[in-house]
Amino acid sequence: MSSAVTSVSQSAPEPAAVVADRTTRAAVDYADYPLVPAPRPWRWVGTAVVALGVAAVAWSLATNPRWEWGVVAQWFTARSVINGLAETLKLTAISGVLGFVLGFILALMRLSSSPLLLSVSWTFSWIFRSTPLLVQMLLWYNLGYLYEKISLGIPFTDVRFFEVQTTTLISQFAAAVLGLTLNQAAYSAEIIRGGILSVDQGQLEAAAALGIPAWRRSTRIVLPQAMRAILPNAFNEIIGLVKGTSIVYVLAYSELFYTVQVIYNRTQQVLPLLLVATLWYVVITSVLSVFQYYIERHYSKGAVRTLPLTPLQKARKFFATHAPVRSLR
């Protein structure tokens, strides 16, 4: 650095005058000169390699006849497949909502100062996180083997308000919802608890000092801030649940995956039909990801100084700033 400075002073015959001139104003006005970015050759090489790879994959998908895209297209919107899809969405929605409601209650129990509530919540999570979902599913479906009748009454007395055969109560649907919900609750309880713990204690204190009631403190002050920590994990769980519903095929419940299996067992077009199911899962996940983006953006209000632009706003800005190019056409 110092050598560069000395070389400059050597080449300039009147260093003092040059320095004085620079501090006042440059001899030439560069303001109108166009700016040229530095060359980035490796970025172009990287871009080319990746583009080539993407093109190769696309080409093979399009031209390899064994993918049987015709068959995929034929079954993609078939009535039975759409019915299966509806069942999948129904299972996801019901067990997702129930799972998170139960998970919220379990999270509050876990944060409670009552040792009984705390340990019951802990044990619940422990049991349901340590047994495979498949086993839980089969267990619920075969509950009739363990308990012949289910009744509602006052415990330890003979009073019964209501009694029913277990096998009539636990249908395939009920077993599926039970299994998925309880499993989901165990995981979401931990996610919600983590989110609540991530909120600064000072927030609760400030709300208490303002005389804001406890329920409102949770819903208005703590939860909205906890949501930032909860949401990414919660969407992971829900997306996992969408595909997790495919495990219900063991109960011969006609959701998307089971439907597709039934079809390919008949037509022997195994891969194209698996592709049909896969594409539908991709569609659902994509839609959920868009929701996730906007919901997370909503809850980042106040956590970032300025909200990042949405893809739509970015596109608008792009066209706005590139307007001269458009006008040239």
């Binding site: 400030a206 005389g211 106040g302």
Partner: protein, 269 residues
């Protein structure tokens, strides 16, 4: 902004602290504090870190429960009710009601980051006092105006400087028309150049007739604004009196040695 919204020179806001004790585990941080704070006065509590100043402040609105002794505001016990010869802790609902009479400003502001400045100010009046949103909004803007931030009403706390955030926090504490305002080192988290904008707001409040209790390390400010200065050390009140007496003519050796350490740098300004 008129002075009509300011409380008249008040007869409310008398704080009587009697033999208050508090321990955290084995450490006793308040060892029998007795102190009377006159209504409408400005009391500044000073002392070294760990002397129990902040803990004492937090017992006044029952954010910290006392282990012994009691605190009364205008003759009403804080956090407890006398029944027979015992003090029964009040239920949450009654404690919240008492807290609404006592505003608090924290060292780290504790503004709600996901709410705008105005929403921070209007939250408690709407929820805790049941005012209409429009009314709370109007009053909120008035308060923000009073701390010089009306034009920043829709900003989120992170978009504000530390000094501005603390001024919003003061407006928020004022929103419930408290008879007592507690300040827990309100300028300690601020850059030196932002300290004065907050102190100026507190100076204004000192004239309003609200009882102010301020824990601070700003000795120049204490001398300037306080009616009474209380010096605490190791969980006890060592000395108290008008600022000119305490600062110029401290009676206790401990007070003298503390001021000799902290006052000199403060006078560099």
């Amino acid at each position: 902004m008129s002075t009509a919204t300011l409380a008249p020179p008040a007869t409310r806001g008398l704080v009587e602290i009697t033999k208050v004790r508090k321990s955290f585990g084995a450490a006793e941080v308040l060892k029998g504090i007795t102190l009377t704070v006159q209504p409408g006065g400005v009391t500044v509590i000073v002392g070294p870190s760990g002397s129990g100043k902040s803990t004492l402040l937090r017992t006044i609105n029952h954010l910290e429960k006392v282990d012994g002794g009691f605190i009364a505001i205008d003759g009403e016990l804080v956090g407890y009710r006398v029944r027979g010869s015992r003090l029964h802790e009040l239920r949450e609902k009654e404690i919240l009601k008492q807290r609404r009479e006592i505003g608090m400003v924290f060292q780290n502001f504790n503004l709600f980051p996901h709410l705008t400045a105005l929403e921070n100010v209007t939250e408690a009046p709407v929820v805790a006092q049941g005012r209409s949103k429009a009314e709370a909004r109007e009053r909120g803007l008035e308060l923000l105006d009073r701390v010089g931030l009306r034009d920043r009403a829709d900003a989120y706390p992170r978009q504000l400087s530390g000094g501005q955030q603390q001024r919003v926090a003061i407006a928020r504490a004022l929103a419930l028309d408290p008879k007592i305002l507690l300040f827990d080192e309100p300028t300690s988290a601020l850059d030196p150049e932002l300290v004065n904008e907050v102190l100026d707001v507190i100076r204004e409040l000192a004239k309003s007739g609200t009882t102010l209790i301020i824990v601070t390390h700003e000795m120049g400010f204490a001398r300037d604004v306080a009616d009474t200065v209380v010096f605490m050390d190791q969980g006890r009140i060592v000395e108290q009196g008008p600022p000119q007496d305490i600062f110029s003519n401290p009676q206790e050796e401990r007070t003298r040695s503390f001021f000799s350490k902290v006052i000199e740098p403060a006078f560099n300004i």
